[in-house]
């Protein structure tokens, strides 16, 4: 079908207008909203696809371990409550038989038997605590960290029952009198909420390594498990490692080199 020059110009003009308006609308619609525009990651924040930790137990002696524990608990205002019923711990020591009850061969190497192992939240890839939390106060971040939102925690302690590692502690009482030296940069917790290690999410956001890793002199290795070239992957490639109760299917992400 022939069209006249006039007809052609009219159609071309109309489609240009439609195209410009439509394009403009699309830009408006797809542009980041007001909220996203205002909130940004800090420059230099450490990000990963799957954070994980490797504990080199050959390097991790008791002095180093205690230094890690001290650093973590000081930075995060973890109270020092002696009563084991009320104690709060983010990172702690446990003998081999308690740390790895599924590794109890009849004759265990003596150096393992005597050693204390440093334990913390395993930041499971399939975290049972997240499944049971009724308020989504605990959830798995995209980078694998199992995070806590104290504002939402109602203190039901389902997560404590679900966690097979004892990584969670409940605040039975006001913790402030039991904090020796308050870190003014970090909040304390109220009576009635559960708390645990969160791989120092607040430090990663600032571009810092977790507190325990920083003071461990290389006994703790932290990195991105999804990155083939990362240090954690390098170590796991070359050395034999075990995890705590992997048969439970929680897929813990703290590896122990024994």
């Amino acid at each position: 079908m022939d069209i006249s020059r006039r007809e052609f110009l009219r159609i071309a003009g109309a489609s240009t207008i439609v195209g410009v308006l439509g394009g403009w609308a699309a830009v408006e619609l797809l542009a980041p909203g007001k909220l996203e525009e205002k909130y940004l990651l800090k420059p230099g924040a450490l990000t990963a696809k799957r954070w994980a930790m490797v504990v080199d137990t050959k390097k991790m002696d008791e002095v180093t371990a205690n230094r890690c524990i001290e650093a973590c608990h000081r930075i995060h205002n973890v109270p020092d409550i002696a009563d084991p019923k009320h104690e709060i711990k983010w990172i702690w020591l446990e003998p081999f038989e308690n740390a790895f009850p599924d590794q109890q061969q009849e004759y265990v190497a003596e150096y393992l038997k005597e050693e204390s192992f440093i334990l913390l939240c395993n930041q499971c890839d399939n975290p049972p605590c997240v499944r049971v939390c009724p308020t989504k106060a605990t959830w798995k971040r995209e980078d694998g960290i199992v995070m806590m939102d104290q504002h939402r925690c109602i203190g039901c302690r389902f997560c404590m029952a679900a966690c097979p590692y004892g990584s969670r502690s409940f605040n039975w009482m006001d913790s402030r009198p039991f904090i020796k030296e308050r870190n003014p940069e970090y909040p304390t917790r109220e009576k009635g909420v559960v708390e645990k290690c969160d791989f120092c999410a607040e430090r990663l956001d600032e571009g810092l390594m977790p507190a325990c890793v920083e003071v461990s002199n290389g006994a703790l290795i932290f990195g991105d498990l999804a990155d083939f070239k990362s240090e954690v992957r390098k170590i796991l490639r070359t050395r034999y490692s075990i995890r705590r109760k992997p048969h439970l299917g929680t897929n813990p992400q703290v590896y122990y080199i024994v």
């Binding site: 909130y39 420059p43 003014p184 999410a201």
Partner: protein, 165 residues
């Protein structure tokens, strides 16, 4: 139907239904109503004149940190008006963005800020009694931010908690 209606109206008319009623003890009743009205509105007048609500609070911003700033930089993350009306919403968003998404940088209307109640807001506004608590008392709001987010429990949270209970 209309006939029935008419009958009813006639009936009512016969029983003086439409005639204005007489108020017995009219004077006393009117005085009573006035007294009742005065009694009911007393709290409003009381607060307008001399009560708590009469003293509209003026939060103070004369903390040492703010005073050290040059005149030009004495601004909050958003304009004053916005902060007065919406600081609670802003803090709520800050909380969610930090805890849920790890976004710790906020583009304010003049510059970027680190998102933190403890390390940003309260560094400048270190006068709890004359800043936060002043309006919160006036509006009878009791936020419990301070029970975790402040480093001086005795001077801050302690005072508020004891005072309110």
């Amino acid at each position: 139907m209309p006939d029935e209606k008419k009958e009813v109206i006639d009936c009512l008319r016969q029983t003086n239904f439409f005639k204005p009623k007489k108020i017995y003890d009219r004077g006393k009743v009117i005085i009573g109503i006035i007294i009742l009205f005065a009694f009911l509105t007393l709290p409003l007048f009381y607060n307008m004149g001399m009560g708590k609500a009469g003293n509209v609070p003026e939060p103070k911003i004369d903390t040492p940190v703010i005073q050290k700033l040059p005149e030009k930089e004495r601004v909050c993350v958003e304009p004053k008006r916005y902060m007065r009306e919406n600081h609670m919403k802003l803090l709520d968003n800050w909380r969610d963005q930090v805890v849920r998404f790890g976004n710790r940088s906020y583009k304010g209307y003049t510059k970027k800020y680190t998102i933190s109640l403890q390390n940003t807001c309260l560094k400048c506004h270190s006068n709890y009694d004359n800043f936060c608590d002043k309006c919160h008392r006036y509006t009878q709001t009791k936020p419990y931010c301070w029970s975790c987010h402040v480093d001086k429990p005795k001077e801050w949270a302690g005072k508020e908690l004891e005072g309110e209970k």
